[in-house]
Symmetry: C3
């Protein structure tokens, strides 16, 4: 995972172009992605696929020809989707095209202007302050021409046509938490779910440029959309913060309850946020026409950590342990979707005698053993056909995995019968 | 407003009589009130319009003929609706008719005995303690005879027959917060709403004596009652406390939600209280037979500030800034009732591209601008025909005015269509 | 009550046998209990009535013939339902049959092994540490043979066939809070309810051994079960803790709301807990097949006070004041079930004039009087046919007894009419 992130970090990604293609090619070394190319100018919902942007070089040089701002040193130095330019400008004319973060004077900001045909450079406030009056040579050697928008897709078929959608964005250049952590986790998740002997749901993975990516996918897959029963956007999961889950627009979808349950019981408990139509690609999946049950898992919410969209969001900022830990939470959430079931208690009048079935220690024993026994009682009491195991876990405020194990034990003992 | 209150303060109001008539006449100098006179003895619901009470003079004089307690010095010195009396009494016999506030020894209490045919004087505890033994001359030169109950009414017609009822009580003598602040605010509100170019609702204002006033109005206007869709009792809004809204008996009427929303977002956030069948005239509008959606706006709830119903509730106690501020909150609440609407998002699949319509700054800009853009996203996402703009404001926890402005912008851009 | 507990404390009770019979005989001296004997081997739901266990003597003696652990000194020394044994054992072989509480080294634990055909002794950790190596004589002179399970039942008939079930367990030997406090309170409650001139509900009392007792009763009374409209398990109510009520599985049964209301208004407010399928005999009544509206009243919940199931749960640990106080709370709860009613306000338009009916003091008077007057207003406002007096008490957050008294006053004044 670390190696993958090191490999992806230097690539200058944007919403179209070679950076995205190279990124998807690296992912395809490990996963059998289908790569889609959608021509510029294609109408997708209310949008049009934009021209393809590629950049070769860019700099601002001083009178002595020294590169004061140099794209080769950091991808963030050029505003994404800057139109080509070659000019000699005074500092005051150049100034309107320079972006800094006065309150974080050492950091380069990340700026984009996808649909405005503008140009700009980003630099640290400190760098800006060191620039004297005089004329500067400004070069952006980029192309903005008809081409294509590229995204990757992978479907792991399951026993049912019902799908779980996992979506991550792949359009940010040289930013590690946003979005390499999401790409790495999504890849690892796909490999693990692919390795499972059986899957109830089909699982669809999307590696897409932000906003225009899901819009393009939604526009081209109207038939598939009805199959999506649960979904998760993965974004920004490697920072030091606790996990946060942002609910889908529905608010009470099963994915919402499952993720909230997992985070509430996590070793470091996470927080669940209400839906709001701001954020990452869940905005598109949760637009009112689609209203899909798609939530988002992150750590510190976007825009609320100081490294967000700056050069400080680098590989040092992201911890692999945090990515792995989030991955485990995502798997636990998917386990609920995959494994939840309704059972019927075959002995619902009074408690069944667990002792004679070897399910109960007569003289109260070890706390772990006792905990398991009480899991049996919770499961028996609420397996009345109306509560699923997950709903019992919610009621008991105990992890789903514990009650799911209890249900399997009780089924083996002939006390429960699986309904659906 | 200050001048009005100074004009009204010295008048000895009660639930009937010349004090009420003079008060209504002063209001009519500024507003085209209809003044109703209902004869004593008229049956109104479970009540009977009482005799009319008027007072000319009253005092307690000592053996030297000095007026120890003098109605001319303060209206509060005579218990309201005291029957006439002329007598010589020992202090101990007089004592049963003297009311003080032992814990607030400098203040004169406000006492009434509308239906008991009693008499009494109110004075400060300090004054009482200074009264020596001996005989006192007691005079209450009042009349309690058949006459009428007087109240004022004003209807501002709107586009619809549906009405908003605004009610304030006018029966308290020389008490400023309770009830001059309410009278002043209701008058100012009527003038402002009258000046509006258009009104959706018809708006009915009642200036009525407490309890018997709304009972009389309700008894005589059974046909109008069905038109009342929202209502507000205004009482005690000039003291230094924060705003409080007391919900109607229904609890979830639109006026309840609108007022709660306004107070939650107010610069100094106010509190919303549940309904209880105690308080001001909302008790009558919210009696179970009528159960009208009428709430109450106040500052510190009645009986819970030390100046309440004492001579300390004078003009110094009331701040015009507080009255104005409450008035603004009432107008914001009425704006919700007047302006709320349902819209349909005409581009509900994915977010519409705001940038190409000039509604979105490409390079994220000023926080205010950004806030407005996110208001657009909230509005678009929830204008699904089911949520009104007000309901979206509740969901977004943002002021109604912001989302209402966003809706108008989106309608102008062809992205929303007004439904109802 | 104290004498009863002193009489019951030394008896060695278990789930069957002479201890239970002696206990029920003592209860029958004061209450006309019906005593049931159910033969060993009888199938009851998923269980079988076990063999009857009786114990005559038991000890562990050292090489010098001295009784080191002596059943005659404390009933808890022998694990309940120990099979008979006579043996000479080394300390290390004996060790597996000795139970202590290492963290409470002075206390004897309470252990049972009803269905395992095991044997064991319980002793203090300090006692264990003083036992040297060497051989010990082990004697348990007990019998475990076909006999019967014994329980007691009492039905106080009421005007209606609908029943309130009161259940307490009677199977613990020489433990005072768990279960003598429950037995004493249940007896006192039965006597008081029996003394009532009239009862709306029929009230059924069960004195049963834990778990197998209610299972046996449920198995044998399937027709009666449909009559049980409310129920309460009483257990552990004499310790110093505040009252706790554990809701029935239904969670919103009337008993749940009534008990929660009483505890919320108690002089020392108690706590209401959600249902969980762990605890005392409510587990059986609330098994999903029956799902009866039976809650539990206790003080400190079982297993969460250090004296629980140890020799420290003795007569000194239990306070009669605490038992009496709990009894009062139970009676207040039953009063709600017995006395709640719906009334119709016969004067629902506006407030009726209370003054002319002598229900309202004209000049506001004493706080108690004022409180009573506001109780009248609450009652009048919500007696709309939809709210019962208890529901009004919940809404007003005032004790049921106050509003019930108000309703009777208003009915006498002709303002309310009883509906049901």
């Amino acid at each position: 995972m670390r190696r993958l992130m090191e490999q992806l970090y230097p690539i200058c990604r944007s919403i179209t172009g070679l950076g995205v293609r190279r990124t998807l090619a690296i992912i395809r070394e490990q996963l059998p992605l289908v790569i889609h190319e959608v021509p510029s100018g294609t109408q997708v919902l209310d949008w049009v696929v934009p021209k393809e942007w590629n950049i070769h070089d860019a700099y601002v040089a001083n009178a002595r020809g020294e590169r004061i701002i140099d794209f080769r040193k950091h991808n963030l130095h050029v505003m994404s989707y800057s139109r080509p330019i070659r000019a000699q400008l005074s500092l005051s004319d150049l100034r309107a095209h320079l972006f800094t973060l006065p309150e974080q004077p050492d950091l380069i900001p990340y700026k984009t202007s996808y649909y405005g045909e503008q140009w700009g450079f980003c630099l640290s406030e400190r760098q800006l302050r060191s620039m004297g009056e005089g004329r500067y040579e400004v070069v952006i050697d980029a192309s903005l021409v008809d081409g294509a928008l590229t995204y990757g897709e992978l479907l792991l078929p399951g026993a049912e046509a019902d799908e779980i959608l996992i979506s991550t964005h792949i359009c940010h250049p040289s930013l590690a938490n946003d979005n390499l952590s999401g790409i790495a986790a999504t890849m690892a998740l796909a490999k693990r779910l692919n390795a499972r002997a059986q899957r109830r749901h089909s699982i669809r993975f999307l590696f897409v440029p932000g906003t225009i990516g899901p819009i393009t996918w939604l526009a081209r897959n109207q038939d598939t959309i009805a199959c999506i029963k649960h979904g998760l956007v993965i974004a920004g999961i490697g920072d030091p913060g606790a996990l946060t889950y942002k609910s889908s627009r529905r608010g009470d979808a099963k994915i919402d309850r499952a993720a909230a349950h997992v985070l509430a019981h996590w070793h470091r408990p996470g927080k669940t946020l209400e839906f709001e139509p701001l954020g990452y690609d869940e905005r598109q999946y949760c637009s009112p026409g689609f209203n899909l049950p798609v939530g988002r898992i992150s750590r510190t919410p976007y825009a609320s950590y100081p490294e967000y969209h700056t050069s400080a969001d680098n590989l040092d900022f992201v911890s692999l342990e945090q990515v792995e830990d989030c991955l485990a939470a995502i798997e636990a959430t998917i386990d609920i979707l995959e494994q939840d079931a309704h059972y019927s208690n075959l002995s619902p009048y009074g408690e069944p005698q667990l002792g004679k079935r070897g399910l109960y220690s007569d003289i109260s024993g070890h706390p772990d053993r006792r905990r398991q026994e009480t899991n049996l009682l919770w499961t028996l009491n609420y397996c009345d056909g109306r509560h699923s195991i997950f709903e019992i876990a919610e009621k008991a405020r105990r992890p789903f995995a514990e009650l799911s194990a209890a249900a399997r034990k009780l089924e083996a003992a002939g006390l429960l019968q699986k309904l659906r």
